[in-house]
Amino acid sequence: MNNLYQPVNCEITDIIDESPTIKSFVVVPQEPFSFKTGQFVELTLPGEGEAPFTPSSSPAQTEKMEITIMKAGKVTALLHQCKKGQKVGLRGPYGNGYPVDEFAGKDVYIVGGGVGLAPIRSLFLTLVNRIKDFKSVVCRFGARTPNDFIYKKDLFGPWQKINGVDIRLTVDKANGDWKGNVGVVTTILKPDDVNISNSVAVVCGPPIMMKYATLKLIEFGFKPESIYLSMEKNMSCGFGKCGHCMIGKYYVCKDGPVFTFDKMKPYSHIWD
């Protein structure tokens, strides 16, 4: 019988500085390790700790995985100090992921902010891989400053040119030669961005952004069951036993981390 707690041995082969507080780590597992977009993994820094992350790379890329990490606590601060060649461990993948097949034939309206673009990148690459299956992929992303955007190289250039993709960006505070919108992400959400009756929305970002973006989408007429939220809670075991990530009756790790808003709505403090 497999030991649920045993990580797969991996090595960090590259580290990319994304923003002052965010880095992407290229992780190469020593045995086959695949995932569905939106599922998460538990990354162990041996002897130090473990934390949950949703890979930011495409699931189609199987020999290596990219994990984008914001310095937020003890383990992530230590990960930020790691160098190429660092041995790490991976457990998972866990959870449900995004139901991409159910998005077929629809406008996919993606609202993201900050490091929330990490899971979104994996989803975006998955959607783009079969872009003809969707009516459109409409992205509205925000960051604190232009420098705080992650994946700048792709985001400011090639991704904007993909047929069927519409991207708009905003920053809370402009600097340098920023010519785009200034304001929180909800200021660039417009009711005619997508055909709401035939759309799904995906929201991922800091809790406060997710809250107000969700409320805005509801105001536009989105049904709660068409809004997909990536709930980031304290997922520790990853398989619905340890209890830390529970929101109401749900284990976010096992029943999520992707939930439609109707499932979360009955519970208080979901954004806390």
Binding site: Y5, P46, G47, K87, P206, K241, H244, I247, S268, H269
Partner: protein, 349 residues
Amino acid sequence: MEIVFISRLKPLLDAVSSEAELFVPEKSGEFYIYKKYNPSKEVVLNTIRTCTPVKEFLFPIREVAAVFPKDKEPEKIKPFAVFGLKDCDIRSIQILDKVFAEDEYKDSLYISRREKMFIISSDCTEPGQSCFCNLFDGEGFSKSGFDLNISPIKDGFIIEAGSAKGKDFIKKHSGLFAEVPSALISERDKNRQKTRAQLEKNSSEIKLDGQVREIVENAADSEIFDKEAKDCIECQACTRVCPTCHCFYLYDASQKDYFVKMKMWDSCMRMAYAAVAGGENPRKVLGDRIRHRLMHKFVYFLDRYGVNMCVGCGRCIDSDAGGMDLRQVLKKLSEEKINKDKGKTKVVK
């Protein structure tokens, strides 16, 4: 041969301990705790459950969950036996089995211990003031879930096998046992009836209006949890002694030349239990944690696994330094529901 008689416990215990490491109850102050069997010390059958939960035999307080970078040879679990478990303990094992052994994710650490465990249960003869298993389908004795069950009677003990392992044991040690005359079976049944009556008397004050599930689910917005929180000192004892609470905490540590991932009991009553690295915490407020604990036990777990995550053993009541009594909380929630329902009826009129 499924039911036999033995006049003294010692020969039985010696036979068990010849095959497995045996743990027996021992009085410690006013409570019983488990100790390793010492053949030179007389064992008296416990009249009530121990104050510690049986889960510690299957899901230890702290254990090595994984070794890094290479998986260590799993610890060889030797056969062990626990004597004197009560029906609440047996039912708590069945609840933990659902989580760790029967769920789609199987916990090999739990299962390896569970497979090596020989369960010797016994009838309750003097349920305590905090016992309320009868509110959760308990009767003070087990009908299944044990390898052997002991029923004390005036002149000795009736032993019943409840599993193939138990039957094999009786067969192997048949020289120790005698046949049971039917008169002794009726004596056992009378004792059981007495215990049942005692349990009912204990909780006669606790009249609940309807199913516990409905009462607790209805209390999603109740202020009773915040009121209870005023006396709670967050000692977390209720979750530690609870035989069905199974929250755990994973942490990493370094050894001389390897790394370990440890698994340790945790408590949903702990302030930072649900907090994330960014500082958000959906259950910062103690009353919300108490509410979540009860919702988990009586609503969420029941919906997911088909059984309440409470066996009514009352350990949480004995251990609670703040004086919270789960029976009283349920009673208050029930009364609140009655008042709420009355209110609704008025509006309709």
